[in-house]
Symmetry: C2
Subunit: 174 residues, 2 copies
DNA sequence: AATAAATGGGACAAACTTGTCCGATAAAAA
DNA sequence: TTTTTATCGGACAAGTTTGTCCCATTTATT
């Protein structure tokens, strides 16, 4: 990001300015990485359009899901590589998803593809010797939450996510 | 990290080497940042020692909880600033925790202090217009998990974590 | 055939998190 | 009083994630 300059007096980056004005989101609970968030949002969008027989292009997708376009392009490339979606190059090209994939793809699979791995058994405080035989002090409290989360990610398929009423961002539906 | 050199033939960083040898942990579900993990582990350790009337110093702490010593020092400084622990400088110095704090401090409080903020209401796929009135496609599936997690973090006090049997790392107890 | 509209892919840059280093400061012990 | 053992705090370095840019490639349209 280019520095904002005020005539030799001082020079700060945009993010430093935002931070000092309390305009930056601080750290919040991140269940997923940004890349995963965008991947899930994009997949839902593409799946919906595909069900309507429409092909989606990068510009449409990134506008609909409010994500940075070039970064989204990278993520879509990964999804193509893993055959979660497929792409058509050239004019009138774009991305589509097969009904078969929409019906069977789990959230967990999607996340694993983007983040390389996704353990739902890791210790909440990062102890690698932690297990049910040698539980960390937080093990018991976290166990059922972890199980629920893992189950949810494995059992939720894309089809379930697109059957709902459309989510509204401003005027348009997503 | 200093590059590993093999006599002019090639030069890579340690992490690149590890990555190519599949020795690096890939992305796993991170409920907390590393800083938070260390903070929680350190707090549990200091609390336990304090209950035994013992003062803990930085070296002991970082060995016990297997964390990088200088980074841990920074984290402890933050905890001191927020009066979660207190420090004594100089020889025989170290860190201690008041019984009052041990009995009342919640995990949530600890996490908020380290990470500045910790929302347990954020949308799982990062949509800021997401709410129960305008739920995102994943809202329903995630709601109960989020609630359980939030409740757990708020209700769990340090005292509960140190009442359990000690967690074993290798030979010694933590 | 030329042009326009797309995706593909590599290099690079910015921002954030994680981690190190070193000197200042404080207090106990010698 | 000097030395030793600690924390404190600032600067900086490394690593990861997030994001941008640019050009090559592919395909439809004119």
């Amino acid at each position: 990001m280019s520095p904002i300059c005020f005539e030799f007096f001082f020079q700060i980056t945009l993010s430093e300015l935002k931070k000092s004005l309390f305009l930056l989101d601080k750290h919040i609970e991140n269940m997923f990485s940004k890349a995963c968030e965008y991947a899930i949002r994009a997949t839902i969008f593409i799946a919906k359009e595909s069900m309507k027989g429409k092909r989606s292009n990068l510009t449409e997708i990134s506008k609909a899901i409010t994500s940075p376009i070039a970064f989204t392009a990278k993520i879509l490339q990964t999804l193509v590589k893993h055959k979660i979606i497929f792409s058509i190059k050239g004019a009138r090209g774009g991305f589509e998803m097969l009904p078969q994939t929409i019906n069977t793809l789990s959230l967990k699979h999607l996340v694993v593809v983007i983040d390389d791995d996704y353990s739902t058994t890791a210790c909440i405080i990062g102890l690698n010797k932690c297990s049910s035989e040698n539980p960390c002090p937080l093990h018991e409290q976290y166990e059922s939450i972890r199980t629920d989360l893992s189950k949810m990610l494995e059992e939720t398929k894309i089809i379930q996510l697109i059957e709902k009423e459309s989510f509204k961002i401003g005027n348009h539906l997503f």
